[in-house]
Amino acid sequence: MKVLAIVRTELTRTFRWRANIFFLLIMPMGLILLLGVAFGNSNARVGVVNRGDGALAGQLVKALGNEPGLDARSYGSQGSMEKAVERGYVSAGLVIPSRFDARIQAGKPVALRYFGRPDSLAPQVRIAVESAVSAQGSDIAAAQIVRSARKTSLQSALGRVKAVKVAAPVSVQLLSAKGGKYPKSQGQFDRSASTQLLLFVFLSALTGSVWLIETRRLGVARRMLSTPSSAREILLGIVIGRWVITLMQSLLIVLFSWLVFSVSWGNPLGTAAVILSFSLVAVGAGVLIGTLFSSEQQAGPVGMIVGLTFAAIGGSMAPLDAFPTTVRKVAHVTPHAWANDAFNHLLVNGGGFGTVLLDVAILCGYAVVLLTLATWRLRRVLTA
């Protein structure tokens, strides 16, 4: 009951300060939105001007949109599309000329005008566009053979070609290097939501150390120890209070990103285990900092620096895959790296609870060490 009284007081004090509602709950979601919009969409955009009015022209536009890593965006005129390419709104542009269908029906060649940007994406975009165009070209070539043999219309011949393609006995299955299921392509906010959740939970737990320091500075912590309550009960109350706050923050980020951005959080049990264990590590680190420093002015910036540094090293600002092997190994000094690994198992590889057990066990180990040190330090600073 004493523990619950401390938990309730922690929550009351935290949410009585209105700015906390902004920093703990609103700001993380705003940043997920911002980072998702800025960096989340890896698809290249292609502007398309469709002057043709036939079914084949429409099929080509659709095929462009279906190309992996490519989004097709329609423009009304070549001029507006060219401006969009120049300004970088789209990575490339394609003009489908008028009488596209008619020329193909007549067996005549058709020239498509392609506008590219001189940037690093250009080769990739060009290959994707060429792939869509050549796929349609090979279908039409096959259909023309069928048409001449069967004396039928091109549309009917195309239908037969597509039917044969669908029934083909050859199937392609993509596997990852380790033989597992190939990673699913992620939505615009999927990666930013999980990495930002880790960043903010850790950061807010660390900066929450100022609450413990204030409790000490006011003499309230010492007074709590003068009551028939043990140091362990007092620390447990403080830890659970801070833990509940970080879990509320996590839950809100998960729900908000799921409802608003359709972020997939994978296996619920696995995700819950990662969030619970990582939050406890964050709270342990925050409470330890709260026992190591004697003023809020010292602990606040230290918490901020440690939180941001760990997030940067641990893959919450840039994916760990982008780091060299040695750096990736060093990154696993931080709890963020283990939690990011766990989220990769769950969200990218579609793994279940079993795939994150090792990561969760290591995170629990971090939490035990940090909380033991924090209990020892708190007792020491209050009774020294």
Binding site: V220, R222, M224, L382
Partner: protein, 313 residues
């Protein structure tokens, strides 16, 4: 005689090179008010911290309501209400929330906590402001709330560490009246102060502490009797007060002399006879005396007699 509420035996505590508490022993009976009187740095707060279970003594032991007291002893702490010198309250919580919170930490059930919170709010006169955040209170109101927290579980021993420091005279008087009433209710009180008049007014017995040692203890009368026929003499003046105090201390009738802020305090046997010599000595030492006061002996004089320095030093 009934079992003492608090029994301290040979308490010692050292911080580095400083012996903060050196062999302090005393007892407090049920319903008794006991004052620890001494200047800043005398060892009062260290003694109180040990007795409140916040600090482990290097040697010696303390028992509260028969239970041995350590920083981990829950049973002994249940009998203590501790009111620290600083305002140990949450400023962003209301008086009601602060009291309810500590009531639960003192082990009261939810129902008991609700009832005692209301009672204590009445006692400390904050019922009408109970739902305002403590940061909106005056200094005196915060002090009263600080004391009220210590009363929640109706402890056998209430420890008050200099509760009137930094308080305006009106609030100070209100606090002293509250403490007097607690004594009348049968609660034992351990009160530390460096104000002689508070100790004289509130305490049944006083322990005089200096440099970590309990120099003497007893009722006011018993302590004053230690002085014999001594009077307390104040010389107000300007000049070399320190040198004059040292010179006066060499006079046979002067038991102790101490220079302070614009005055010299002397403990003198037969003040009326010795006064001319004292004035001459002070004048020769370079002090221009403006006025002289002779007082009947009090606890301040006892402190001067026992330690050779004034309480304010």
């Amino acid at each position: 005689m009934s079992e003492p509420v608090l029994r301290c035996q040979g308490l010692r505590k050292r911080f580095g090179d400083i012996q903060a508490v050196n062999g302090v022993s005393f007892e407090i009976a049920p319903g008794e008010s006991y004052g620890l009187l001494g200047p800043n740095g005398a060892g009062k707060t260290t003694t109180i911290s040990i007795v409140a279970g916040l600090l482990e003594a290097d040697a010696g032991e303390a028992f509260v309501a028969g239970e041995r007291l350590t920083t981990r002893s829950v049973a002994a702490k249940a009998a203590i209400g501790f009111v620290p010198q600083e305002l140990a309250i949450y400023p962003d919580l209301t008086a009601h929330e602060n009291l309810s919170f500590f009531a639960r930490l003192y082990g009261l059930s939810a129902k008991q906590a609700r009832a005692r919170t209301e009672e204590v709010l009445e006692v400390i006169g904050l019922s009408e402001r109970a739902d305002d955040q403590a940061k909106t209170y005056s200094g005196g109101m915060k002090r009263r709330l600080n004391i009220g927290i210590g009363l929640l579980h109706e402890p056998k021993l209430l420890i008050l560490d200099e509760p009137t420091v930094g308080v305006d005279p009106q609030s100070r008087n209100a606090i002293l009246e509250s403490v007097e009433q607690l004594g009348e209710r049968g609660m034992a009180v351990l009160y530390t102060t460096h104000y002689m008049e508070e100790a004289e007014r509130l305490c049944d017995r006083v322990g005089i502490i200096d440099h970590g040692e309990l120099k003497a203890e007893g009722t006011r009368e018993e302590l004053v009797a230690l002085l014999g026929e001594h009077d307390k003499v104040h010389l107000m003046g300007t000049g070399s007060l320190e040198a004059a105090a040292n010179a006066c201390a060499r006079i046979g009738a002067v038991d102790a002399a101490s220079a302070g802020d614009g005055s010299i305090e002397l403990l003198v046997k037969g003040a009326s006879a010795a006064l001319p010599e004292i004035l001459t000595t002070a004048s020769e030492a370079g002090v221009s005396v403006h006025s002289v006061e002779v007082e009947a002996p009090n606890l301040e004089a006892v402190f001067l007699h026992l330690t050779g320095r004034a309480l304010r030093d």
